[in-house]
């Protein structure tokens, strides 16, 4: 027995992992592909009917789908772009010792640990155009009133603002970890050579922290593309289709319109987008890995 175990140790150790992947990744994915080629209203009376690629063709011809794709990418790139800039800035500020640093770091982290749906509901109240806190602050500072989520022109940007508020600390934390890991000697020699603070940041901190920054950006990007909770808790895709991202569209198609095939096809397209992001992530990670 023990000899058998010794001989097959490799297989025994990876079996749980393989089973997990099989049941939690391969099966759902395969089933989703199958569903995306069928037409089914989830009926208990009739089974899914094979329709080939027609769900996909319908999507590719639909302006609603392409707008949703555009919105998803806009949301992710703009939100993560702002988060990265802010995150690096704040990390730089926190990357030195000062009184109350621990408290400041903890406070910065609070949005990250909040539940997204609760965050969405709170922001919905802040954004209330008539009685909300947002307009009270804006008008108090002399700015004009905003409609925030109540206008198709501003709703998506208002959502991006929530995302930035919630996730900037995450980027900050990861970048800070990268900065802390940079050895002291390059800075010391730079100071001796008369480099200014900006030059030290530009030519030492940024290049040496770039692998961590890139990892943070790509992780956030994948996460931001997947955003669902905040949007669902606030606008559900409205006003009009103004904040309808791919995920929201897929949810509506599946559970409001009862068209399983359409929903599955949308998620397959979404899968392709996220997957290409992940491949990019791996490629980029290999390229920027540096030795100190």
């Amino acid at each position: 027995m023990s000899r058998w175990v010794d001989k097959h140790l490799k297989i025994i150790f990876i079996t749980p992992c393989l089973l997990f992947i099989l049941f939690m990744v391969v099966f759902p994915l395969g089933y989703n592909i199958y569903m995306s080629t069928s037409k089914w209203s989830m009926s208990a009376l009739s089974s899914p009917e094979f329709v080939g690629a027609s769900n996909y063709l319908m999507l590719f011809r639909s302006p609603r789908f392409w707008s949703a794709v555009g919105r998803t990418l806009y949301y992710a790139f703009v939100a993560v772009g702002i988060q990265t800039l802010l995150g690096i800035g704040i990390a730089q500020m926190l990357n030195r010792s000062f009184f109350g640093k621990g408290v400041a770091k903890t406070l910065f982290l609070l949005p990250v640990v909040a539940t997204p749906v609760a965050v969405g509901m709170v922001w919905q109240m802040i954004y209330e155009p008539t009685i909300g806190l947002g307009n009270a602050i804006l008008t108090g500072m002399g700015f004009p009133r905003q409609l925030f989520l109540g206008s198709s022109a501003s709703a998506l940007n208002a959502l991006i603002f929530i995302d930035v508020w919630e996730w900037t600390p995450m980027v900050m934390l990861m970048v800070l970890a990268g900065m802390v890991a940079i050895p002291k000697d390059p800075y010391e020699s730079a100071v001796v050579d008369g480099a200014t603070a900006f030059q030290r940041f530009r030519y030492i901190t940024l290049p040496l922290a770039s692998p961590t920054i890139l990892v943070a950006v790509l992780l956030r990007l994948i996460d931001a593309i997947k955003t669902f909770d905040i949007i669902y808790a606030t606008t559900k895709g409205g006003p009009g289709f103004a904040t309808e991202t791919i995920n929201i569209y897929a949810t509506l198609a599946t559970f409001q319109y009862y068209s399983f095939g359409e929903g599955a096809a949308i998620t397959m397209c979404f899968f392709v987008i996220v997957m290409s992001m992940a491949i990019m992530f791996n490629a980029a990670k290999k390229r920027v890995e540096v030795e100190y």
């Binding site: 009917e49 198709s152 409205g238 409001q256």
Partner: protein, 424 residues
């Protein structure tokens, strides 16, 4: 003697057991009941214990907002869940698809139970649960679009309560006082949610969702006129951000005294007027929708899951909850029921402001329609398209173009439905 005593005792025990068993045939049964967060559910909740006392059935009630409920039901019914016993459905929204999907339990036998008195239900309400042969739900609540208005503001301004859409416009214009934080009118603006309350404006302008052939007609001249009217009115005299407002937000705004008028279903009057935080409870008047035509519909009913294993207990629950007595009790708490007889019982109508009772009664004599949204299977998708045009109209965009686009989307939904029906 001892033996006799024992005999008497055991007989007594037996006798005391027997009636209990007869009275509580379902002792120990648990029913899972999914309700929408609605006036009807809120009114029923305090009575649930009575049902348990009566039958021994333990009720596990879950309550969700309507969209969440609809989604939860879809997930569980698609999975053919066996422990989904009773739930609320909207005959005009998801019921048709649910019936087509075989998700609902046939309640025809219950309806034919003499105690249920089938003839007592408004006929139109029952028809929506019928697929030609069987019935798949029991109507609970009826709704009409009405006008809520602030009596104090109307008196102050010295204007009459509007009876036409032109008068409504004039009143909204006159009563808007942005500096004082008062908006002339509020009504739903959130995409799909706005569709049902827009219907009164559409019907009154002579439009309808579909033409006589059943094709999309949301781009007709009448519909465009109605869209423009609704959009312009809400943009100019409505609260900012109205395109994000469902009835919950509208009702809250009206309850906080920030709107002079409100067109909405009468069934939510408790939320808008009688809510604990409402400041307008004693300053609200009720009037018929100020147009030629509006909806008078069953908004909610009770259905059973097709895969339930406790059909008998579930039937008993519906029989109790949708029975004459409970309908009267709930109507007395302010829920407009779906039974004709209840409107004739004075005690059942105490919760309604007298003016509202008059309005509900008067609505029956008007040119009403039995639907507040298109009568098709894929209502939800159609509403999303029609809602686009409403949002565009409120935001002041090109209404003709938006109506054209909405019509194309709506027509494609109708055609998908036709194709699906032909296959069946």
């Amino acid at each position: 003697m001892k033996r006799l005593f024992a005999l008497v005792l055991s007989l007594a025990l037996l006798l005391s057991l027997a009636p209990v068993q007869a009275e509580k045939p379902f002792e120990g049964t648990e029913l899972r009941v999914l309700l929408a967060n609605h006036m009807w559910s809120n009114a029923l909740e305090p009575h649930l214990k009575e049902f348990t006392d009566l039958t021994g059935i333990k009720l596990n009630v879950e309550m969700y907002a309507e969209d969440q409920l609809s989604q939860k039901l879809a997930i569980e019914l698609a999975g053919q869940s066996k422990d989904l016993d009773v739930f609320m459905t909207r005959p005009l929204q998801e019921a048709k698809q649910m019936i087509a999907n075989g998700w609902l339990y046939d309640v025809t036998p219950l309806l034919n139970d003499p105690e249920m008195d089938k003839a007592d239900f408004f006929e139109a309400t029952l028809a929506l649960y019928n697929n030609g042969e069987q019935y798949y739900g029991i109507p609970l609540v009826t709704e009409r679009e009405i006008l809520y208005y602030r009596t104090d503001l109307f008196e102050e301004a010295g204007i009459a309560v509007p009876t036409t859409l032109d008068e409504l416009w004039a009143a909204a214009e006159a009563l808007t006082d942005v500096d004082a934080g008062i908006y002339g009118i509020v009504s739903r603006g959130l995409t799909a949610a706005a569709v049902t309350q827009f219907s009164g404006y559409l019907y009154s302008m002579g439009g309808d969702w579909m033409d006589a052939e059943g094709n999309a007609a949301i781009n007709s001249p009448e519909a465009v006129k109605a869209l423009k009217f609704y959009g312009d009115m809400l943009r100019e005299f409505g609260p900012p951000g109205v395109t994000a407002m469902h009835w919950q937000q509208c009702a809250a705004l009206y309850a906080s005294g920030k709107a002079a008028m409100y067109t909405e279903a009468d069934a939510i009057f408790n939320n808008a007027v009688n809510a604990a935080e409402s400041v307008v409870a004693d300053k609200t008047g009720y009037a018929l929708f100020p147009g030629d035509s509006f909806y008078n519909i069953p908004s909610w009913g009770l259905s059973m899951g097709a895969f339930t294993e406790k059909a008998d207990a579930a039937t008993a629950f519906i029989k109790w909850a949708a029975g004459k007595d409970m309908t009267a009790t709930l109507q007395a708490a302010g829920v407009p029921g779906a039974r004709v007889s209840v409107y004739g019982i004075p005690e059942a109508n105490v919760a309604f402001p007298p003016q509202l009772v008059e309005v509900i009664a008067a609505a029956g004599t008007k040119n009403t329609k039995g639907y507040d949204r298109p009568l098709i299977t894929s209502v939800s998708k159609a509403r999303d398209y029609i809602g686009q045009a409403i949002v565009a109209a409120i935001e002041g965009g090109d209404v003709e173009a938006a109506a054209e686009e909405a019509n194309r989307g709506f027509q494609s939904v109708i055609e998908e439905d036709r194709a699906a029906e032909q296959k069946q």
